[in-house]
Amino acid sequence: MTSVFALAIALFLLVNLVVALLAAARGPTPADRMLMALLFGTTGTAVLVLLAAAGGGTPLVDVALVLALLAAIGGIAFAKRAWQGEEGGDA
C-alpha cells in the first residue's frame, strides 16, 4: 500500500516537473530559467527517493544523494560565470 502511494506521489511530482519545464522554456529572464533548473534538481531528488521506496532498491538513494549535491554546482556556475545582466545577448 505504501509503495503504491509512493509511486503515486512520484507521478505527481513528475507532472509538477513537466509543468515547470514547459514554463522554463518561455521564462522571461535568464535567472527564472536557472531557478527552474534548480527546482528540477530538488524535485528529481525527491522522485528518486520515492522510486527507491516503490521497489527500485536502496542504490537509488545514493543516486539521489549525488544529484542533490551536484545540481547546486550548475546554480553556482550560473551565478559566478554566466549571468551578465537582466537580458543577456545571444553569444
Binding site: M1, T2, A6, I9, A31, A46, L50, G75, A79
Partner: protein, 100 residues
C-alpha cells in the same frame, strides 16, 4: 499507525512542492522566486524524506535518508546566497507594491 503518519508526511511534502512550483511561476521578481524555491527545497524534500524514514527497514537506512536533508539545506542556502548577491550586484531592484 506508523503507515498513516508516513502517508500524511508524504502528502504534506508533495503539497510544498506544488506550492514552490506555483510560486516560481507567479512571483514577480528574482528575490521572491528564490524564496519560493527555498520552500520547495527545504520543506518539501524534508517532509518527503521524513515520511520515508519513519517506515524504513533499519535505523541505518533511515539515517541515510535523513542525511540527504542537511546536504540539500547547505547546497540550497549557498546557491540562494550566490544568486541573490549576483542579482544585487547587477543592480536588479527588489519588487515593491506600487504606491497608491
Amino acid at each position: 499507525m506508523l503507515e498513516w503518519l508516513s502517508l500524511a508526511l508524504l502528502a504534506v511534502g508533495a503539497f510544498f512542492f506544488l506550492a514552490g512550483t506555483v510560486g516560481l511561476l507567479r512571483f514577480p521578481d528574482v528575490y521572491c522566486r528564490l524564496h519560493a524555491l527555498a520552500k520547495a527545497d527545504n520543506l518539501g524534500l524534508g517532509f518527503i524524506l521524513l515520511g520515508l524514514a519513519v517506515q524504513a527497514d533499519s535505523l541505518a537506512a533511515a539515517l541515510k535518508l535523513l542525511l540527504i536533508w542537511p546536504l540539500v539545506l547547505a547546497a540550497s542556502a549557498g546557491v540562494g546566497f550566490a544568486i541573490a548577491r549576483r542579482a544585487h550586484a547587477l543592480g536588479i531592484a527588489p519588487w515593491r507594491k506600487e504606491a497608491e
